[in-house]
Symmetry: C2
Subunit: 436 residues, 2 copies
């Protein structure tokens, strides 16, 4: 087993605790990918008596985060306290001694990233910030590396879950902005002081970062035009709908002949566009490259686990560069060659699934009752059913969707149904797949 | 200027020509990202007289692709001829002499990838294959690196554009499978012999690759259960719709307690799921990680330019590892620090956009005519307009959406409209954004 990579985590709030949980829960998976285990050795906690939703055994906790940044025996540091100061000083101190830092701090990167990256360059350290934009969606990596062959023409994103939740509530329930905001606060989707989210500043921070990596321009938060969602009315949402549009808070970065457009504002988007369908707290970013055309991403933009997913991805990237052979840092099949291990592939008969079945049957009484009796005997529930009268010479149709069951159980029931005298043909059997 | 990285391209078909075009058109952008220019120095063409939709000046063309694999003075090679043989021998020869290869060849990677990666490991060369799955969508990178902190529980994808086009046609027009296939062939979305696509083999190749990088299992094409779309009927599509579902050809990889499920089949998905809304030739992959939850990606899965986007992204990744300091291969802002250059940020007044306007007006005759006269005088077309009678004491409402115009022009018109005696209030002005 290769030596562990030692990680210091500064700040054990929502994100910091998520990082500790994730590094523990997925330790095996992560080691198989990176080739070395990632182990949290230091964490800073302001209040040592506050209960934390993560396992701190084996972790040295310190009250002063600067101790981790300046002195602790760590290979990598996670900054998860947020805000400009002391986060900036902590990161500058860490990179100053050559330790790379992972941060989820969009405000800091958008406002002071240029100088932080300069400081890191002095020593050859890195500052990674995938978690700063769109939480768990790996959109920084996608734009920075996955679309590297493109000239990015424009991008637009729903990059604040609080606002998207509020606008979705207003759309679906017809509620006022104030009511939807209170609702979001009650559910923990909005802070007690929601200004930063609803006035668009948080989106502007993220847009600043996206625009830089898309266009190759310095971070320039001050130049973003920002308008929040507080003036959006149910009436406008309703009229937009009549026109075939949804209202979304978008961050937009676009090249024009004379410069770039950088703005955040409530925006009408056609209800047919994929981004219009991203509802609730979900985030989404759509990028238009001159080669690839439009590529879209969606997923959870916040929350401890989703944000930790991005932080840990950055840790894995950095951990790989700490190895002897950074050139082969990412193995072709994601996992280190010696960790690629077969798993048994299940026979489809054993795979559980919901099923769709369409039968052609003679048009006679008692058909449904006999079919459903067989299904019940095999402990199969029916989620939806439809019966259609015959047209002219045709047989009648029965179509249904079952609960999730192993295929062999469904097949046994089907064999019995086929044997019923009134069943002419099992015309179609398809699987049903559930998404979130 | 740093020395160019020399690229050899084997096969100048749809993908190969796209790669040459892209490396030329986006040369400046790519150099700014990678730090060194990428230059195609060799290409193989079977028929030198066949016209090619790319500029071959400065490129040495050879008839025998093995010449490039074995001897040519190149740093990186792109394999874009497809098929198992001689593609496999070419790649093995190239990696055998330590040259890394980028390929779009999903059949080859799915069927022989294990041995190809082993061969590459002998010399320390890499084999990159982002283009092999979902064309321009950077899904390999997302799963392999962006979601590295997760245990991937399951993934599902629309990974064959031909099938998705056919199913979308059947859904939207009610046509039969045969008719939709002919339609796809006429438009160039299906091959003359479409077997590979419609019987699900192409999806199975891609699913094999996705499953490996998601679960850390060896490539195992032979174990995938495959069912194509030829038996899907308009009737099932229609009944599924009644139940609130769409039918999509999905590749599915899922962990269960006893093993993994690997299959490709037509599948019912709730019409509310994002993936159900991915229509036409678009591809989409949805990944469920234990930390991030559900993350989705969509975009163009095929075509010369979109596929070349992925090939060139891989070339950029590999080119970065050829530099002196592979550790800092990817700069924080995507572009090399010395290439990060400000662009003028436009004043919002100059930014062109379509606008949504809602006015409260007195309920009197001639309102619409006077408003539209002002708009016409400013050369602003109206894309949609709606007038609502007053409710009780309220004013009447006029709402409209304009053509795309610079904001200052819209503002001038708005100033004039506001001055009209019957206009009580400009209650809302929002931007409208167009997506593909
Ligand atoms: N939450 C999300 O979903 C999310 C998503 C994306 C990005 N982010 C970003 O992630 C960062 C952290 O967010 P969070 O939600 O985890 O915040 P949080 O829950 O408020 O946690 C912040 C933690 O930092 C500690 N802390 C704050 N100031 C400190 C100081 N001066 N010295 C020492 N410790 C200090 C706090 O300690 P105490 O516990 O002792 O008060 C707390 O544990 C922010 O930059 C945020 O923008 C968050
Ligand atoms: N097209 C897409 O949208 C797409 C998307 C994703 C992945 N891919 C993959 O990309 C690869 C290339 O596809 P493509 O669409 O570009 O194919 P294509 O248009 O048929 O081009 C293949 C090229 O390879 C050349 N070639 C074939 N066999 C050869 C041999 N034995 N020796 C020398 N040259 C040979 C052909 O030469 P001639 O021109 O002289 O016949 C042709 O230029 C395939 O693996 C495919 O699966 C394609």
């Amino acid at each position: 087993m290769n030596e562990a990579i030692k990680v210091g985590v500064i700040g054990l709030g929502t994100v910091g605790q998520g990082v500790l949980r994730l590094l523990k829960d997925n330790a095996d998976e992560i080691t198989r990918r990176v080739g070395r285990p990632l182990r949290v050795t230091y964490a800073s906690v302001r209040d040592p008596n506050k209960p934390r939703d993560c396992d701190l055994s084996g972790v040295t906790t310190v009250a002063d985060p600067m101790q981790i940044a300046r002195d602790a025996d760590v290979d990598l540091i996670v900054e998860a306290i947020g805000g400009i100061s002391p986060a900036r000083e902590l990161i500058e101190t860490a990179v100053g001694r050559g330790i790379s830092v992972v941060t989820a701090n969009k405000a800091l990167i958008a406002e002071d990233g240029n100088r932080i990256f300069d400081a890191a360059r002095q020593t050859g350290a890195s500052v990674a910030f995938e978690a700063a934009v769109a939480g768990g969606i790996p959109v920084i990596k996608a734009v920075r590396e996955g679309l590297a062959g493109n000239r990015v023409e424009r991008l637009a994103g729903i990059i604040n879950g609080t606002c998207n939740y509020i606008l979705t509530q207003m759309q679906e329930k017809g509620t006022s902005f104030d009511e939807a905001l209170r609702d979001a606060q009650r559910l923990g989707y909005a802070e007690a002081d929601p200004t930063f989210d609803i006035e668009g500043m948080d989106s502007a921070h993220k847009l600043t970062i996206l625009a830089s990596i898309a266009f190759g321009v310095p971070l320039d938060y001050a130049s973003v035009s920002v308008e929040g969602i507080t003036k959006v009315t149910p009436q406008d949402i309703q009229i937009a709908q009549v026109f075939g549009y949804r209202i979304k808070l978008l961050g937009i970065a676009k090249r024009h002949a004379t410069g770039v457009e950088l703005c955040v504002h409530p925006t009408l988007v056609s209800e047919k566009a994929m981004i219009a369908k991203v509802d609730g707290v979900l985030n989404s970013v759509v990028v238009h490259g001159n080669a690839v055309g439009e590529v879209g991403f969606y997923g959870r933009g916040a929350g401890g686990d989703a944000t930790a997913s991005a932080v840990v991805a950055d840790l894995c990237d950095l951990a790989r560069t700490l190895g002897v052979d950074a050139r082969h840092a990412v193995p072709p099949l994601a996992f280190q060659p010696e960790a690629v291990q077969p798993l048994p592939v299940m026979a489809m008969a054993d795979v559980p699934s919901a099923f769709y079945l369409r039968l052609l049957v003679a048009d006679e009484p008692g058909v449904l009752s006999k079919l459903t009796t067989i299904l019940a005997a095999h402990d199969i529930s029916v989620e939806a059913i439809l019966q259609r009268e015959p047209h002219g010479e045709d047989d009648a149709t029965v179509a249904l969707i079952t609960s999730v069951i192993p295929q062999h159980r469904f097949d046994h029931a089907l064999t019995e149904m086929r044997a019923l005298p009134f069943v002419r043909e099992d015309a179609a059997r398809l699987r049903v797949e559930k998404f979130e």
